[in-house]
């Protein structure tokens, strides 16, 4: 099946390592949640009803304007792909774990470069996502909004004068907008400023969480920062609020990096080189250690301590070393300790090619 090409390679547009401030902001994601009028939300929809949602929304995909503005869109019904492919799509952040495991008549619609991912019959009937590399919240919002306009011209949304766009979960009602950026903040973690900054962030209507696994722990010093409030603010305010807060965090991280370099260069160099050495030669590597050491190497490259892989390779490695992707690459049905061996092998080979 041609659709499987999305799970055969790791690199997505959002991992390209380009875009503004891409040494600190890995990627930007904006999603809007919408529902169709007169049909129950996926939580209570019958098979027939969710089938109707799928049919109506996939019809819009054939819209000529959509084709002109966004290129070919590939519809992938979730019941047509196997569990491993689903897991890989989750690891690439193209679909949610929820869509992979619980949806009925669920589907994902992807552009060729995977910068647009539209989920059908997730928690809401329609979730439009735009994923961009680097720090591009305004761009991602504009694109998501343009897609939203096209859908809106062809289907009737559940919309209320007072509450705005109606969603299944009360935390999304109003704009249905969630904008988030993935940030790499090793220096703020090392200098122990991170908790202070994150709790300040939470006081201005934003939330922070780690990006790996189900836990709240921020493995690999990667943090996802997103708006919490969707009702009572305009989309422009939400985007601008996130934008300005993230700019300040970038500034703090930059300062912390500079201080590390000025005040403890030898220690930071030691840390980066140790991690680089271990990644280059280790035979067994669990995912937690991989995330931490990859973070060290990434910081080392950013600080000029190490001439190493560009950030696109690091982003790709983060995804490639996830359980689903490892099994996709090296053969299915590995147990965790086998995965640790293949993870180490994959990292060794990748760094061997790109580091000097």
């Amino acid at each position: 099946m041609s659709n499987l090409r999305f799970t055969e390679h790791a690199l997505s547009e959002w991992m390209r390592g380009s875009g503004q401030d891409s040494d600190i902001v890995i990627s930007t994601r904006v999603r809007v949640a919408r529902n169709l009028q007169h049909l129950p939300f996926p939580l209570l929809a019958t098979n027939q009803q969710s089938g109707e949602v799928l049919e109506r929304l996939t019809k819009v995909i054939e819209d000529e304007q959509l084709l002109n503005d966004f290129g070919v869109l590939h519809v992938i019904p979730l019941n047509e792909i196997n569990d491993l492919d689903k897991q890989v799509l989750v690891e690439k952040h193209l679909i949610s774990p929820n869509l992979a495991s619980e949806s009925r008549n669920g589907a994902v619609v992807l552009t060729d470069d995977e910068s647009v991912s539209i989920m059908i019959n997730e928690e809401d009937h329609l979730r439009i996502q735009c994923l961009y590399p680097g720090f591009q919240v305004h761009e991602a919002w504009e694109r998501a909004s343009a897609l939203d306009d096209i859908f809106e011209s062809r289907v009737d949304y559940a919309f209320d004068d007072k509450r705005g766009y109606l969603t299944s979960c009360p935390t999304n009602v109003g704009t249905g907008l969630r904008a988030s950026v993935m940030m790499h903040l090793p220096a703020l973690v090392m200098t122990q400023q991170i908790n202070r900054i994150l709790s300040a962030v939470s006081q201005v209507g934003l939330t922070v969480r780690g990006i790996y696994g189900e836990g709240s722990e921020a493995l690999g010093n990667l943090f996802q920062i997103s708006n919490q409030i969707t009702l009572g603010q305009t989309e422009a305010e939400i985007i601008e609020n996130l934008h300005s807060v993230v700019l300040q965090i970038i500034e703090h991280e930059k300062n912390a990096r500079e201080r590390l370099l000025n005040e403890s260069k030898i220690r930071i160099t030691d840390r980066v080189m140790r991690s680089y050495g271990i990644l280059s030669y280790a035979a067994v590597m669990d995912s937690k250690e991989a995330a931490q050491r990859l973070s060290d190497v990434r910081l080392g490259v950013d600080l000029g301590i190490l001439e190493g892989p560009p950030s696109s390779v690091m982003n790709e490695l983060n995804v490639k070393t996830q359980p689903g992707f490892l099994q996709k690459t090296f053969g299915e049905n590995m147990n965790p300790s086998e995965r640790d061996v293949y993870r180490a092998k994959l990292i060794r080979e990748t760094l061997g090619h790109t580091c000097s």
Binding site: L39, E123, R163, C169, G174, S216
Partner: protein, 174 residues
């Protein structure tokens, strides 16, 4: 089990947060939980699972049992999809868009807690939202009219009054 935050003290508070279908488990000791209190939505001063849940679901936040008002709220039911308010407060998700109407009276406090607001001021669908846009424009003009009158700018005020009349005529014609 040790606290996931400090890794020293035993974790005494365990809870699962589900946001947008993404489940996150937390295991904190009392101290770290207090410290992180402000990171947890729905709590203003420190950590309290009870205020977190009851706040989100708009049950009785005092913790002294349900008030008569809360009981009647529990018997509310959406005629469209059949979901009851009591089910909604357990699941935390609406069954259909009509639930918003049937539970309407109970939603302001909930939205106030979650979003700090109760009404949408953002994007409006282009096709079906035409009326809403006119209404918003009308509200804006009325505000400006008051402003002009207070400042005794009567010429400008008259202009705005004409615009309001025109707009109201359009809206009446549908």
């Amino acid at each position: 089990m040790l606290c996931q935050e400090c890794g020293k003290r035993p974790a005494t508070l365990h809870f699962t947060k589900i946001v947008n279908g993404e489940k996150t488990e937390f295991h904190f000791c009392e101290f770290c939980a207090r410290e992180k209190g402000e990171l947890i939505p729905g709590t203003s001063n420190g950590f309290s699972i009870h205020s977190l849940l009851s706040g989100l679901l708009d049950l009785d936040p005092s913790g002294k049992g349900q008030t008569p008002g809360a009981i009647s709220a529990q018997s509310l039911r959406c005629e469209e999809c059949g979901m009851t308010y009591s089910q909604f407060s357990k699941v935390g998700r609406f069954g259909c868009s009509s639930c918003y109407n049937y539970f309407s009276d109970r939603l302001d406090p909930l939205f106030k807690r979650v979003h700090g607001n109760t009404a949408h001021i953002g994007k409006v669908p282009k096709r079906s939202g035409g009326r809403i846009k006119l209404k918003r424009r009308l509200d804006e003009l009325k505000k400006e009219l008051q402003y002009r009158i207070v400042r005794e700018e009567f010429e400008a005020a008259a202009e705005i009054r004409d615009q309001i009349r025109e707009l109201e005529k359009n809206m009446a014609q549908g």
